[in-house]
Amino acid sequence: MGIKILTEHINVPGIETLEVYRKHGGYKSVEKALKTMSPDEVVEEVKTSGLRGRGGAGFPTGMKWSFLAKPEGVPRYLVCNADESEPGTFKDRWFMEKNPHALVEGMITSSYALGANTSYIYIRGELLFVLRILEKAIAEAYAAGLLGKNILGSGYDLDLHVAPGGGAYICGEETALLESLEGKRGNPRNKPPFPAVKGLYASPTVVNNVETIASVPWIVNNTGAEYAKVGIGRSTGTKLISASGNINNPGVFEIELGVPVEEFIYSDQYCGGVWKGKQLKAVVPGGSSVPILPANLILKTAAGEDRLMTYESLSDGGFVSGSMLGSGAFIVFDEDQCIVRNTWNYARFYHHESCGQCSPCREGTGWMEKVLHRIEYGHGHQQDIDLLVSVAKQIEGNTICPLGDAAAWPVASAVRHFRDEFEWHIKHPKEATAPGAVYRGQLAEITA
């Protein structure tokens, strides 16, 4: 099943307590980093590890850290983005719930590397029970001298706070997150300036995903070079995948990057195959905002190579025949699922979650939802399909933050790969709106 970096001890009973966590090698990286390494050495290790942001964009973490401006006399902040709210993603929630100390340890080591004396974990408002688990873990760490003044006698001070959001998807965007953390309305900021220069309270700030930060202790303990050996090419290390949809074995899996997609879906170690042995129709490989791919394109790239669970392989073919690894929310659709209905569902989500600040996203997300609703309920016109593509194109790339793109991609890709299904809905509204009706005309082609 490959190496376990994040989830090795996750099923040990009582791992959420400091005592058990330390028995299993917890907080070793804090001791190692604070006592034997300089902050720059930690950053160097993360750079060599090739660790990439696990929140969706996949930007190299070491590089992000080295971009942090370091003006004299200005505090720096590390903010952990735990506002995981993309449909299909639940890995961070699961991880923090099971092993809160792993995140706290990562926060201490990473904050030390960045020279931050105050750090925040911004957690999604709905995850109140996880917030309590984290606060308990932080209190234990304070009591053990792992947080607070003069940590382990090294002279390094760190205060760690957990801040709950108000339950808005947009606050997972890093600048909206910072606005919300400052107590303002969660609107994304115009960039530049980037958070690395002017972030939280106009000070240099790094925002990282939970999984990214939780990977740092292992890198410090075992060196970055060791970490880089895991995975394939520029996709190093392991990734938590939240697998859901029509599969036999849904849940969170830690995979070594580079596992073939086919193996991931059909192997009993992972998803365990499509539910009830049905045929695979489509997969959204990285959370609702990435393009959907039909079965033939998710298993093999357009060039006929096996698709692997890596950043590069999943995006092979660009948006014409590829997708993205994103945040690792692997959603599987079997032959009985309606793509139009699913696309409408996603569009409805983005319509609801758009912050309303910039016009293309505010108006366009609602428009797409209404058109898709019309098609799904049998009132579509033939020109609606082109209208959808056109509206998606008008939003894409013209907005302040990536939410506009995230709303446009699933719609554009669904029309690109499943145009026949949309047309069938429009031409045969009676059949399409019958209970349980699914278009199967394209199935032979996409499962070939």
């Binding site: 293309p360 108006e363 428009w367 056109s390």
Partner: protein, 326 residues
Amino acid sequence: MVKITFDGIEVEVEEGTTILQAARKIGGNVVPPAMCFYTPLKGSGGKCRVCLVKVAQGSAKDPRPMPKLVASCITQVQDGMVVENTTNEDVLNARKGIVEMLLINHPLDCPVCDQAGECDLQNLSYEHGVSATRYEEERRTFNKVDLGPYIQLHMTRCILCYRCVYTADQISENRVHGVLGRGDAAEIGTYIENVIDNEFSGNVIDVCPVGALTDKTWRFKNRVWFTKPMDAHRDCPTCSGKVTLWTRGEEVLRVTARKDQYAEVEEFICNTCRFDKKEVKDWTIEGPRHIDRGSVISANHYELPVVNVPIVPNLPVSTKKNLPQE
């Protein structure tokens, strides 16, 4: 000083200037429109996206083009930057798309709207929009909000430029209104019914690019194009007292701040000047006010459209504008 090329025209501007300001230095038809950016208001801009331009060359040092269209109102110039606005079809198409987005939920009640004739959205859609709509759903509406005796809020007309929020933040002491809600349900409001009441509150009417915030003392009295704008001043203890009077005959129908050609106010005025001094004898008249660009009352502005590239293919002929070519 840095040199940039905008639509093939070279211009020299100070460092830290935005692309939009550099373009305004050139002036004329190459200037990108702006619905949310407002020079006197710090922090405004970047929201409406109609000022998007293509940066074909980032700077002399780093000549790579910027990957996406950028909002010219908030992007600073670099030495040797090459910017394309009216010369780039992608920019014009993107702008048409955004105008369409701004209009899908706008009530288009111009015939009864007090802003008609001096409305930025009217100008924008005339210059950059298409004359047919592809939107067939019901338009979004809002419940009425009462903002007190002077200011009328029509939330359905709002394009959420945030200008009135910045104005209240920056020139008055207490901001009681703000943006509530999210997405296309976001609205300007006071949360718990509250009167916008302070000496400079009337300026939110002047900064509003559309008819969302209008003057209750002027509502339905007349149309903008029937009134005569006159520069006038008075000794005012709270503000500069320099205003534009909109008169018809001997009657002063409306008082506004003096606005430049981009509809930006020169000096904010107080509520006493705006709402209470409606007699000619209150004012020293300086002479007629020259209005150009941002208004249909400017002479013959609409004879030649800047550009008219159709984004919707195969529109019926009747919907296309037949305008004389230059």
